[in-house]
């Protein structure tokens, strides 16, 4: 019963959301209007742009281009103006974008003069296909990636408005080009002025397009920065989630076992500390890093805190002498953790001059070295024997009740 009601409510909510989306989003078949805000002439281009989901600038350029060819653009604009209702402005005095209007007028005049002089507008050289092709290219450019372009265009429109110098400059360029053309028309060969004119028109277009390109670049940089930030955030979140939250959950589950709780807390603390303070260390690259890793592993395995202090460092050698030393050190830590009943173990690794030394000390019950049976491999074989086979030495200092200290020394071969 309740379930059904919930489902019905859900359906309502979903239906509501759908209507909302249709109202707020660009509904495909809504009536075209002429917005007054930001218009250049009558707002036809803007309205058409909104209707076709294109950029107004593209539509405006299209009208300009079409006007040059038999004045088609002008007629079309006039017709659309008449049939399209005005959209009530939101503000009291809707602003015209005069700087853009000036730029478009200049381009239009230049193109018109060009067409008239070369006879292109009379269809002499078949200008219509060019105009259509040009418009098509503009629309293609506009449609290439609408999602992204929207961001660029909004940024560009902003910078266009901010940049009051750039637009007059473009207009000036076009005007100067037109004057220059008219002046030189008599003397220069027929192709020359046409070429020059084209350059001037392209220059004008470039000036108009420059804010877009700048906006585009800025947008890309922004996106990049944002992405890096997001990646960092994701890394922190992953770290907190994978380790910290996990450990906290585990601690709650084993709350009855103080030893396990402190082991978990310690291992988490170590992990967090490494992450915060230690640069990413390759545990297989240097002695200090390897000692830290081994201590961490044994601490985890046996639940006894192991404090590590390292002084100096050296890259691990290929001959494996330091590798053997590390194995001996690990065995010493295992012994201390397993048998010494010590509350904590201290490990000190030092590389000084031509010698590497590792000390493993506990404050446990200690033992009498003479009493260790010959078949006990731990100390005799894994520590002392191993060190001696590789040219190092191992000393064990212990007494019942006094704790144990294992000292490993290895000569370093000269590089």
């Amino acid at each position: 019963m309740t379930g059904t009601r919930v489902r019905v409510t859900m359906a309502y909510v979903m239906a509501d959301q759908k209507t909302l989306a249709e109202q707020s989003g660009d509904a495909p078949y809504r009536r075209m209007t002429r917005p007054m805000e930001g218009r250049l002439l009558g707002g036809v281009a803007q309205g058409l742009a909104a209707q076709l989901k294109l950029d107004p600038v593209v539509i405006r350029l299209m009208f300009v281009l079409l006007s040059v060819v038999h004045g088609v653009g002008m007629v079309a604009y006039a017709v659309l103006w008449m049939v399209t209702p005005r959209k009530a402005p939101e503000r009291a005095d809707p602003q015209r974008d005069w700087s853009q209007l000036a730029a478009f007028t200049a381009i239009g005049l230049a193109l018109f003069a060009f067409g008239w002089l070369t006879g292109a507008s009379q269809g002499g050289i078949g200008m219509l296909p060019f105009a259509v092709g040009g418009i098509g290219a503009l629309i293609l450019w506009q449609q290439a990636d609408p999602e992204r372009r929207r961001g660029w265009v909004s940024g560009a429109a902003l910078s266009m408005r901010k940049n009051r110098i750039r637009t007059p400059l473009g207009v000036g360029l076009v005007v100067v080009g037109a004057i220059g053309f008219l002046y030189s028309q008599g003397e220069l060969a027929q192709a020359r002025p046409g070429l020059m004119f084209t350059i001037v028109v392209v220059g004008g277009l470039a000036v108009i397009a420059a804010p877009w390109l700048a906006g585009l670049w800025k947008e890309l940089q922004l996106e990049r920065r944002e992405r890096i930030r997001q990646e960092e955030r994701a890394e922190v979140a992953a770290m907190v989630h994978d380790s910290v939250l996990h450990t906290l959950t585990l601690i709650q589950r084993v709350a009855h076992d103080p030893r396990e709780v402190s082991r978990l807390a310690r291992s988490q603390e170590r992990e967090l500390r490494n992450w915060l303070y230690q640069p990413a260390q390759d545990a297989d690259a240097t002695l200090a890093a390897a000692v830290r890793r081994i201590a961490a592993e044994e601490e985890d395995a046996h639940g006894v805190p192991i404090e590590v202090v390292c002084v100096g460092d050296i890259a691990l050698d290929s001959a494996g002498r330091l590798g053997a030393m590390l194995k001996a050190a690990r065995q010493a830590m295992v012994n201390a953790a397993k048998y010494a009943e010590s509350p904590a173990i201290s490990v000190y690794a030092e590389v000084e001059g031509e010698e590497a030394t590792i000390f493993v000390k506990d404050r446990g019950k200690g033992f009498d070295l003479a009493d260790v049976p010959l078949d006990r491999m731990g100390i005799r074989e894994s520590i002392i024997g191993r060190m001696e086979r590789h040219g190092g030495t191992a000393r064990v200092r212990t007494e019942p009740g006094e704790g144990t200290e294992v000292m490993l020394t290895m000569k370093l071969e000269k590089a």
């Binding site: 303070y277 002084v311 201290s346 030092e350």
Partner: protein
């Protein structure tokens, strides 16, 4: 009775320390940031200030600068969760007489406070390791040979501290008195604070970056 002031921005931690300290220590006040710390120290004149390194308003180093800069003789023991070299060396050079990490046991902390109150220095194994590491690189010619290098004996003492020996054990190991061990450690502390070896600070920063 040693009079102690606890400066830490975590209330939970302050009450934890209060509960852990032995009977020989009287906590005369608490402070939670640089401003309240400076005021509380002036008001209570404690024997020892337990000072957190990371705090709002400039951290422990700022407290040290303002209190010791005004000529106060109060002694500081830095107590921090961080064991980054730049924090440790920074706060010692700022004038703290010792540095211990927050996972220290109550008994050890009581011991360390007593030692600082008596004018001695307190070095944790990690701090000893840092100092050995910092003074080890001796390629750069020193300006003041007395301040810029450790004596053989001081080095031995520091190594034993780094190996996890207590002062008493060090004394036994080196056949000297505990008092002499304390003298050596205080001497190292003085060098650490007064030596103008640029490497000290640079080294501490580099350790974080490398």
């Amino acid at each position: 009775m040693t009079r102690v002031l606890i400066v830490d921005d975590h209330r939970l931690f302050r009450s934890g320390v209060r509960a852990e300290l032995g009977d020989s220590i009287e906590v005369v006040g608490e402070a939670e940031d640089v401003e309240t710390a400076v005021r509380a120290i002036a008001a209570h004149q404690p024997d020892v200030v337990l000072l957190d390194v990371h705090m709002p308003g400039g951290g422990g180093q700022e407290v040290l600068r303002r209190v010791l800069g005004s000529g106060s003789q109060v002694r500081f023991l830095a107590l921090s969760v961080s064991d980054a070299a730049e924090d440790v060396i920074g706060v010692i050079r700022g004038g703290a007489r010792g540095y211990v990490t927050k996972n220290i046991s109550g008994k050890e902390l009581t011991d360390a406070i007593r030692r600082v109150a008596e004018g001695d220095a307190v070095f944790s194994p990690r701090l000893a390791g840092f100092v050995l590491d910092a003074f080890a690189s001796s390629e750069v010619p020193s300006i003041d040979p007395e301040l810029d290098s450790l004596t053989q004996r001081e080095r031995e003492v520091l190594r034993l501290i780094a190996r996890g020996y207590a002062y008493k054990e060090i004394a036994k190991e080196l056949f000297i008195s505990v008092k002499t061990v304390e003298t050596h450690v205080s001497s190292v502390l003085r060098k650490l604070q007064l030596s103008n070896r640029h490497e000290l600070s640079r080294w501490a920063t580099a350790r974080r970056l490398v």
